[in-house]
């Protein structure tokens, strides 16, 4: 009976056009657009020299000066800084000798000559520095005792590009977009999990009522349907990663098999999450779909999939949430392969995903089994 339900779940899932589009075609389309939009940036990042940048000091800032030194003196320097007066800097910017002017004082500001990959990199550099500086100053104000620890931690993060990456991972900034895309596909799996849950409940669907009348035990029916959905979702994740790696030629180094594993675990987590949401309480179908979509979007937002700075804010304000947020777990597990010199973080994230999946499944099943409804 388990295999019978499993087989039909896979068969019918693969024939749902919406599912095929959102979980298979959409990532391919979006990935291709990312490649078109950021591919040029990527090429420039890896092939061009350091970005010529004018720095106008409006007030002395030792920390900033030392950061500029660190990013301009490395083997692959990011900036080629020139400390100038404002007048000289503007002249050079006008002539195209520098790509931007950073005004360094109590706060940083940036003026660029136009739009392009190098200008985007300068903008990101200034934003990143501003966020980290704010974290340190806020900590000094609120809890001076922890200031040293925070400075040390953030300095360590600034130095991650100098750390020897795990095996031959890819530390390019632009790869983040594809990690986020993989995380988004995994979180989209919540809608298929939600569908499984609703199709088992008599008060949410006629199919649920019909199944509830059958001789198939609820636990078998639910597990077989979920297993079918997990398999379909895993196939979608494999297609997405394969497309990114082999068609778009995004380089994951020799960590590609681990990227597949993280993506599959993320997909399973997404489906289980949707199943859990679908099993909660007595809400009607529309309300559950709305809740699942909203929570998924919020998770993506808070993990930085939509707004780059959000990840830093969450790390600062609610690091615990980052450790259980499915979207963050998927993206972080993949990025950890390129940032850390051991598998510890990767394994922790992977195990967390699987444990949360099991918790979601068990809680969901407990909520819908043996349930009689007050109304249908």
């Amino acid at each position: 009976m388990f295999l019978h339900i499993l087989m039909y779940e896979i068969k019918s899932s693969l024939r749902v056009k919406d599912l095929v589009f959102w979980l298979m075609l959409f990532p391919i389309i979006l990935g291709t657009l990312f490649k078109i939009a950021f591919g040029d940036l990527y090429e420039k990042e890896v092939t061009t020299d350091a970005i010529p940048t004018a720095i106008v000091v409006t007030a002395e800032n030792e920390v900033f000066r030392s950061v500029v030194e660190s990013v301009s003196d490395s083997d692959e320097p990011l900036l080629k800084p020139e400390y100038l007066s404002e007048e000289a800097a503007l002249k050079k910017l006008k002539n195209g000798d520098v790509k931007g002017i950073i005004y360094a004082g109590d706060k940083l500001s940036l003026t660029v000559s136009g739009e392009g990959a190098e200008q985007s990199v300068l903008k990101l550099f200034v934003e990143e520095y501003t966020i980290r500086e704010k974290i340190i100053t806020d900590t000094v104000k609120t809890d001076p005792a922890k200031a040293q620890a925070v400075i040390a931690a953030l300095s360590e993060k600034l130095e991650t590009s100098e750390e020897k990456p795990l095996t031959k991972g890819n530390t390019d900034f632009y790869i983040q977009y594809f990690q986020n895309l993989i995380a988004m596909v995994a979180v989209h799996g919540s809608m298929t999990g939600l569908h499984v849950s609703m199709s088992q409940q008599a008060n949410l669907s006629e199919l649920g009522a019909r199944k509830s009348c059958s001789a198939a035990p609820k636990s078998v029916s639910v597990l077989a349907s979920l297993a079918g959905t997990w398999i379909v979702q895993s196939v979608c994740m494999i297609i997405t990663v394969s497309f990114i790696a082999f068609v778009l030629r995004v380089d994951y180094g020799d960590s590609l098999p681990l990227v597949y594993a993280a993506a599959i675990a993320g997909g399973i987590l997404g489906v289980s999450f949707g199943f859990f949401v679908g099993s909660i309480g007595k809400m009607k179908q529309g309300a559950k779909v709305g809740l699942c979509m909203t929570v998924s979007m919020v998770m993506c937002f808070l993990s930085g999939l939509m707004l780059g700075n959000m990840k830093m804010i969450m790390i600062e304000k609610a690091p615990w949430f980052n450790n259980i947020n499915p979207a963050a777990l998927v993206a972080d597990s993949i990025s950890s392969l390129n940032l850390y010199s051991s598998y510890d973080v990767y394994i922790t994230k992977l195990v967390t995903m699987l444990v949360i999946s099991v918790i979601f499944y068990v809680l969901g099943l407990l909520m819908i089994r043996r349930r009689k409804h007050a109304s249908l």
């Binding site: 006629e206 199919l207 001789a215 009689k372």
Partner: protein, 316 residues
């Protein structure tokens, strides 16, 4: 003695202030085609949902095949076939796959299942449509598919909840004949409908429901005997005098006579030879008459007399 297949005792189901089932009891014997008849909202589907353990209820007891029915009574469920009011199939599976899917929820053995699926397809006459997806089927064919999905595993008890709603007459007749055939093959049938003709046509015993209560139960003849009017005689006759109408009123078993100058309508309660006695009155006076017909009461009249309202909704 016939075995009791379904026993419902004193069932009470409330939706807030509304009492959907009000101390409803029922006993259905093996081999019956039992009709649950009542207008929309009378509690038929609620009864079925409680019976199948889909709905909780406030009071009462339900036994099927002599065992208490619960959501996990899978040993009972394996012998029940359910055909729901709305068509419940998967749009992503073909006709054959749909029947096989539902059949597989009851039968594990592949060979046995294949035979059951073939039999069900043949039974509902969908041989030419096995590779069609439900969206390509007409309403009548969809209903037949719905039935095939419910009966493929050859259940001992089949519950049909208004299976002919929005079905064309041809498909309706085929469905009704099929239900009778299933019954001849040994299945006990529970059939809910608000179409009295269907219930009269196929059911061996009938319970009439209204406002969650059972207001009458019996065979169709027993139900018709419950009401005052057992026969309506209509005679076409012109210009009858008042004395003739008065003599008609004085005949045994006649309780009401109406005459509009063209049609003489005589309502009788019980008795035999009512028509012969009425025609004797006319012949003795050598009065001519046209067409003569006599009608037995319908279930609608039974319902009307018991509840004071028509069985069917106005829009139907």
């Amino acid at each position: 003695m016939e075995n009791t297949v379904v026993k419902i005792e004193n069932l009470v189901k409330r939706y807030g202030e509304l009492v959907a089932l009000d101390h409803f009891s029922l006993e259905i014997k093996e081999g019956e085609i039992f009709g649950l008849l009542g207008p929309n909202g009378s509690g038929k589907t609620t009864t079925i949902n409680c019976l199948l353990s889909l709905l909780s209820f406030d009071k009462g007891n339900i036994e099927i095949f002599g065992k208490k029915m619960t959501p996990v009574s899978y040993d009972i469920k394996k012998d029940i076939g359910i055909i729901m009011q709305n068509v419940v199939v998967s749009d992503e599976l073909t006709v054959r796959e749909n029947i096989d899917y539902f059949c597989g929820l009851y039968i594990k053995d592949k060979d046995e299942r294949r035979k059951c699926v073939d039999d069900a397809i043949k039974f509902v006459g969908l041989e030419d449509f096995v590779k069609f997806y439900p969206k390509k089927l007409s309403g009548g064919l969809l209903r037949r598919l719905n039935i095939a999905c419910g009966i493929a595993h050859k259940p001992k008890l089949i519950i049909l909840d208004e299976p002919t709603v929005a079905v064309d007459p041809q498909s309706r007749n085929r469905i009704l004949e099929g239900i009778q055939e299933l019954n001849r093959n040994g299945a006990t049938i529970i059939y809910t409908s608000h179409y009295m003709e269907e219930v009269e046509q196929i059911c061996t015993r009938i319970a009439i429901m209204d406002k969650g209560r059972k207001i009458a139960e019996g065979t169709k003849d027993e139900l018709k005997r419950m009401i005052k009017n057992t026969e309506t005689i209509t005679i076409e006759a012109l210009g009858l005098e008042d004395g003739v109408v008065a003599e008609m009123r004085s005949l045994p078993h006649v309780y009401e006579v109406r005459y509009d100058g063209k049609l003489l309508i005589i309502l009788c309660s019980g008795g035999k030879h009512n028509l012969i006695r009425a025609l004797d009155v006319l012949q003795k006076r050598e009065l001519g008459f046209g067409r003569v017909y006599t009608e037995l009461p319908t279930l609608n009249e039974v319902f009307l007399e018991i509840t004071g309202k028509a069985l069917r909704d106005k829009e139907e």
